[in-house]
Structure formats: structure tokens, C-alpha cells
């Protein structure tokens, strides 16, 4: 009796044989303990290979791949867009002025520079006046607070500490109630 080749045995174990061939192999295996042992050996190895456990994949793997495939675009800063729009408007305005006035470009540029300088000077004067006004306002507010403070001191001397505490608590409560009530009112709107 001729024994099976390993090729044929593997084909049998992997289900690659035709029905008739498989029957022949099975018949041989029943009769030949040596081939049966060899077949059992290979069968166990193949079955164990097929049932190797899955490797552990992190739960966020899909998200990682998706983020790599479709990276989020970084938004452009708003000030950059503002600057670009401003420059574009300036250029457009200059071009429009050149066309409408019918003057040549260097002449227009000189006039524009002069005008720009004038605007800048006016702007600076305005800024200086605005700063002076703010300083005056701050002085007035400080004096007002000083007057309130002095008034409170006089009042504190006139009334008892208990009345003062009661008045202050009342004021805090009224302020808090007004504030939260106002917020609720805004949210409802």
C-alpha cells in the first residue's frame, strides 16, 4: 500500500480535493496508522493557526485613521482677512480715483500721499483730544466716588451699626435680585 504524499494530505485537510479523491484518502487513512498520525499532526497545526486570537486594536483606531485621512483645515485669522480686504479696497479706490480724475499715476500718488498725511494728522489730533477727554472723565468719576464715600462716612456716623449692616445687606440683596432677574429676562428674550 502506497502512503499519501504531504501535498495530497494538505489538500485533503484544506478541503481542496474532489469528492472521489477525498474518499480514497479517507480510506487510506483508515487503513494506515502512520499516515493517520501525520494527518492528525498537520490538522491540529492548521486548526490552531486558523483560531489564533485577534490582536488588540485600540477602540479609537477608526477615528485616528479618519482624522489622518481628512485633516481639519486651520481657520484663517480674521484680522488677516480684514487687512487683505482693507488693502484691496484702497487699491480699488486709488484705481477708481485715477480713472475718474483722468490724472496720471505719479501725480495722483503725490496727491494721495498728501491727503493721507492730512488724514493721519487729523486722526492724531482727534486721538489726542479723545485721550484728554477720557482723562477728564476719569477725574470726574474719581471725584464722584470720593463724594459718595464721604457721604457714606457721614451717614455711618449718624446711624447705628445695626442699621448700617441692615441697609448694606438690603442693598446687596436688591442688586443681586436685579442682576439675576435681568439675566433671566435677557435669556427669555
Amino acid at each position: 500500500m502506497k502512503c499519501l504524499t504531504l501535498d495530497r494530505l494538505y489538500d485533503c485537510l484544506e478541503g481542496l480535493l474532489e469528492e472521489q479523491e477525498k474518499k480514497e484518502v479517507d480510506r487510506h487513512l483508515l487503513a494506515c496508522s502512520r499516515c493517520r498520525q501525520v494527518a492528525e499532526d498537520r490538522r491540529r497545526m492548521l486548526e490552531a493557526s486558523r483560531s489564533l486570537p485577534s490582536l488588540e486594536l485600540p477602540s479609537d483606531f477608526t477615528r485616528r485613521v479618519m482624522e489622518a485621512a481628512f485633516p481639519r483645515k486651520r481657520p484663517q485669522p480674521r484680522w488677516l482677512w480684514g487687512l487683505a480686504a482693507g488693502l484691496a479696497s484702497l487699491l480699488l479706490f486709488s484705481a477708481l480715483l485715477a480713472v475718474l480724475s483722468g490724472r496720471n499715476w505719479p501725480e495722483l500718488m503725490t496727491d494721495s500721499s498728501r491727503m493721507l498725511w492730512g488724514v493721519l494728522q487729523s486722526g492724531l489730533t482727534f486721538m489726542a483730544k479723545a485721550v484728554r477727554l477720557i482723562v477728564t472723565l476719569v477725574k470726574v468719576v474719581v471725584q464722584l466716588f470720593q463724594a459718595i464715600w464721604e457721604g457714606l462716612n457721614v451717614l455711618a456716623e449718624l446711624i447705628t451699626p445695626a442699621t448700617l449692616a441692615l441697609t448694606l445687606t438690603g442693598l446687596v440683596l436688591i442688586t443681586a435680585a436685579s442682576y439675576f432677574g435681568f439675566r433671566k429676562f435677557l435669556i427669555r428674550r
Binding site: 504531504l6 502512520r34 498537520r42 497545526m45 490582536l55 483606531f61 479618519m66 489622518a68 485621512a69
Partner: protein, 187 residues
Amino acid sequence: MTDDKELVSRTLRGDRKAFEMIIRKHQQPLFNYIGRLVGEQEMALDFTQEVFLRAYASLATYRPEFKFTTWLYRIASNFIIDHWRKRKPVTLSLDQPLNPGEEGRCPEAADPGPSAVDRLETAELRAGIEDGLKKLPPEQRELFVLRHVSGFSYEEIAEIKKQPVGTIKSKVFKAKETLRRMLEGMS
């Protein structure tokens, strides 16, 4: 589950959710395959991600008459082979027989004593296979994993590797017998 070809078509039309479904469907088997070839968890994760990104980049070249899985595994296989080439590992030639006259030998010539593999418990056997896979030459390891761990047919492996079915069968046979001898050595 939605058909791969349908998902590919939807992805090509800009449906990101469809690509996400492709990833979810194939990530675990692909990771098992890559992980068993490279043997390192972090590297296998990076490689699996890279394979999906490459697949996405070349999705327009996928032809629906072929199976999507074989197309995806071909990308993975080429990527890993590139990695091995860069590392220049010590490899054995697969065209060289294991031992003279051993190929396709008759079991009569095998050790007639009690089977070494039979003496191992299933858990031990699995551990031995994992260990043995790491020691197999890279190409044998890849073919063995494709056939006997991932469960591809010889025809599908031939398509993945772009080699004739007969060549693939012969190489897988060598891989099996090499691994088996390693298991015998372990028991």
C-alpha cells in the same frame, strides 16, 4: 453589511461615512495580518493606518471586477515588503528546497514515533505558532498568515502577490513544513 464596491463608489462620490465603514469592516483582520508580519504593536498600528490612507489615495484606481479585500491586502503586502527591503532582513530563498528530497515527501519517511505536535495542548500550540511565525523567513510568514490565519484561498493569494497559483501553493507548503519542524523543536 453594505457591499465593499458600493462603499468604494460612495467614498469616491465624497461620502466620508462610507470610507469610515470600509475602515470599520477591514481594520481588525488587516491589523491581525500586519501585526503578525511585523510583530510590534505600535508599528502594526502605524502600518495599518498607512495602508488605509494609501488605499484612500488610490481608491480611484480600484477596479470593481476584482475583490476589494485582495486589492487592499495587495497594498498592505507591498507596503510591508518595502519596509522589509529598507530593513534588509536576513531571508531564506523560497526557491531553495527545505532539505534535498523533502518537498512533497511521503509521510512514510516521517518520524514514525508519537507526534511532537500532538503532545502540545491547544494553547501551547497557538503560542508555539505565534513564536514560530516570528522566526519564519518574511515571505513564508506572509504567505502562511494569508492562507492559514487570514483564510484567503490560494487563488486570492495569487492575486494579491501577482504570482501563479502553483508557485503560491508550493511556497505555502514549505512555510507549513518549516513551521511544523519549529513546533517539533519546541515540544
